[in-house]
């Protein structure tokens, strides 16, 4: 499958945007400028970028607690994302959701859910709406190896299978639920054995190689748009930070393992590849990074310049009118 230089540049830019956005969050968090739970997507950028490159605005996705990358790759506004993470009134959820619950229904981002596995049933409805609309629309749900241990995961595989829903299951296998390895907690060991049991087409790929993810997702999306039923894509990867950013949460994963995975950085590897292939010059790479950093800075400024919600705003939005 030939990927054009334009597509390659777009993939790189999306990954780098996620990386620089997340790096800024780490900095802000460690300086105590933001509170609550922030789950960093650093190390896993190739998955959101490679999969969502094939998604249109009318296609819908459901994300999880580690969801900033999916928001950015689906086209969310970084300013409103940052404002939400800062708890501002101008945030996507008016400060009611925070980092774990960013949603933008206008671009088909149906929200990030903080309960592991809970996005899976919700995504069934998004996929069923796509099927009923009958315009080759599709849906995707992102989740991790931890979610594969939940009952909701199996219920979702089953329902998607029997209803032949146009749903792409994207399992971001970063190998650990907080500090517990899936090798301990998952009887199936190989995650794709589970979709296989439900007669769902599946593939396991290197989640740190954006072109590999992009190509696998292209085939999966074509399968979905042809109405052939759901597809399960396991992307093997690793998270660089702790489960959530924290000074007190221990990281009990083997540190040498973490160092090995850092050497397989999806962003740096792709940057090197595109430079060597002559797709991007160093000048162009620098220009892309500078532009992204400006956008991130602009987002932080927007958040800081935005008002905090009034205490009594807590009473609004319990119900829709």
């Amino acid at each position: 499958m030939a990927i054009s230089p334009k597509e390659q540049t777009a993939l790189y830019t999306t990954m780098q945007t996620i990386r620089l956005f997340e790096e800024r969050l780490v900095k802000e968090f460690l300086e105590n400028k933001i509170s609550g739970f922030v789950h960093s997507y650093i190390g896993e950028e190739a998955i959101a970028a490679g999969v969502l490159a094939h998604f249109k605005k009318t296609d819908r996705i459901v994300s999880h607690h580690r969801g900033h990358g999916h928001c950015i790759a689906k086209g969310a506004d970084m300013k409103r994302m940052m404002a939400e993470i800062y708890g501002r009134k101008t945030g996507y959820c008016k400060g009611k959701g925070g980092s774990m619950h960013i949603a933008d229904f206008s671009i088909g981002m149906l929200g990030a859910d903080g309960i592991v596995g809970a996005g899976l049933p919700i995504s069934l409805g998004a996929a069923l709406s796509a099927q009923l609309d009958g315009q080759n629309k599709i849906a995707a749900v992102f989740f991790g190896d931890g979610a594969c241990q939940e009952g909701e995961f199996h219920e979702a595989l089953n329902l998607a299978s029997i209803w032949k829903l146009p749903l792409l299951f994207v399992c971001e296998n970063n190998q650990y639920g907080v500090n517990t390895s899936y090798r301990y907690s998952l009887g199936a060991q190989e995650i794709t054995r589970m979709p296989e049991a439900y007669h769902i087409q599946n593939k396991s790929v290197d989640g740190n190689d954006v072109e590999v993810v992009y190509e696998a997702a292209a085939r999966a999306v074509e399968y979905l748009r042809n109405g052939q039923g759901p597809y399960f894509l396991e992307c093997f990867t690793y998270r660089w930070h702790k489960h959530y950013l924290s000074n007190s949460l221990p990281d009990l994963r083997p540190q040498e393992e973490l160092e090995e995975w850092k050497k397989k950085c999806p962003v740096t590897a792709y940057e090197n590849k595109l430079r060597q292939a002559g797709v991007l010059t160093q000048t162009r790479i620098d220009a892309i990074k500078t532009r992204i950093l400006e956008h991130v800075e602009e987002a932080v400024r927007f958040a800081l310049d935005s008002p905090l919600p009034a205490p009594q705003d807590a009473l609004e939005d319990v119900f829709s009118k």
Binding site: R60, K96, H101, D104, L120, E155
Partner: protein, 327 residues
């Protein structure tokens, strides 16, 4: 006027609203034949026995522009789907800052008296009242059921309908013409001046039976059916208690943290109503036990006409033992 039962009334409500709006989906583990024949398998979907999956799918459909009715059958089965109903359906409008609407109707059967034992008999609406973001309807007859379900199917929020098992087959006058019943509007079923009886769901029948008998004894009872618990028509209750000065709340659900407790707290917390009280408000509720199977125990665990009458005597300052001796 013709008479139909709750089962028929519920079916008509869904048929009428599904004809009005084609972006509607019905999900249940059993096959609703009439709906399937009229609206076809795309919209009328049989689900696997996996409550979390279809209760959650309804949320995704709602967020994508479809309105869904989920019939869970037994309310105890809804506990399997607590994650989707409580963590998501209830909170999602708020948590995402009101940027999307979530029109979902969850229907479930409640109540004891069917010999179903603890895992098929429960009245769990107090739990649901404690989770902000869900509207709660509690119809006590086929007329209210149809009107409230039709309103629920035009509502832009998750609604939970609690329908008593023993009311399903009861015939009730229901007009052929279309009507809707707004949420938050109690029904004053019987006017009276001595005691206000607020009764929920099937307990309306027990309250009316008690009111009939008490009338013979010269006690005038006002019977109020709130019909919806969220929103609750507090004003109708306040107005009645200001007039009668006495309140008895009758609810089949367990006593602890129940709807009856909430209603009494609202009444005693409202200064002008509190000032009008002539007696301590009383509640007649289900006992704090899981519903037992064997009929004598099951009957003992839930309120009935006699228990309601005893509570009325008490708020009237009459000696219960004397009354019992007389009867």
């Amino acid at each position: 006027m013709r008479e139909i039962n709750c089962e028929q009334a519920g079916l008509e409500a869904i048929q009428e609203e599904f004809r009005r709006n084609s972006k509607t989906v019905h999900m249940s583990t059993d096959m609703p034949l009439e709906l399937l024949q009229e609206f076809g398998p795309d919209r009328i979907r049989m689900t696997p026995i996996a409550e979390n999956s279809f209760c959650g799918a309804a949320i995704g459909l709602a967020g994508s522009g479809y309105r869904t009715v989920v019939n869970l059958r037994m309310a105890t089965f809804s506990f399997v789907a607590m994650d989707q109903i409580f963590n998501h359906a209830a909170k999602i409008t708020y948590m995402f800052g009101g940027q999307a609407k979530f029109p979902i109707l969850y229907r479930m059967t409640i109540g004891a008296g069917i010999g179903g034992a603890a895992e098929h008999s429960i009245s769990p609406y107090p739990m649901y009242m404690n989770v902000p973001g869900l509207k709660i309807i509690l119809p006590s007859n086929a007329y209210d059921l149809k009107g409230l379900l039709k309103t629920a199917l035009r509502e832009n929020n998750p609604v939970v309908s609690f329908e008593h098992a023993l009311l399903g087959g009861v015939q009730y006058p229901v007009p052929e013409e279309e009507y809707l019943i707004p949420f938050g509007q109690a029904s004053v079923i019987r006017k009276g001046k001595d005691v206000t009886l607020v009764a929920l769901s099937k307990m309306v029948q027990e309250a009316l039976a008690a009111a009939d008998e008490l009338k013979q004894e010269g006690i005038s009872v006002e019977v109020i059916d709130p019909r919806t618990l969220v929103p609750l028509d507090k004003e109708a209750i306040f107005k009645s208690v200001r007039k009668t000065g006495r309140l008895v709340v009758v609810d089949e659900a367990c006593q602890t943290c129940g709807a009856a407790a909430e209603i009494i707290a609202l009444v005693t917390g409202q200064k002008t109503v509190f000032a009008a009280l002539k007696a301590t408000p009383a509640r007649v509720t289900g006992l704090d036990v899981p519903i037992p199977f064997s009929p004598p125990m099951e009957k003992f665990a839930i309120p009935d006409k006699n228990k309601v009458m005893d509570a009325v005597y008490e708020v009237m300052g009459m000696k219960i033992s004397v009354k019992k001796a007389e009867s």
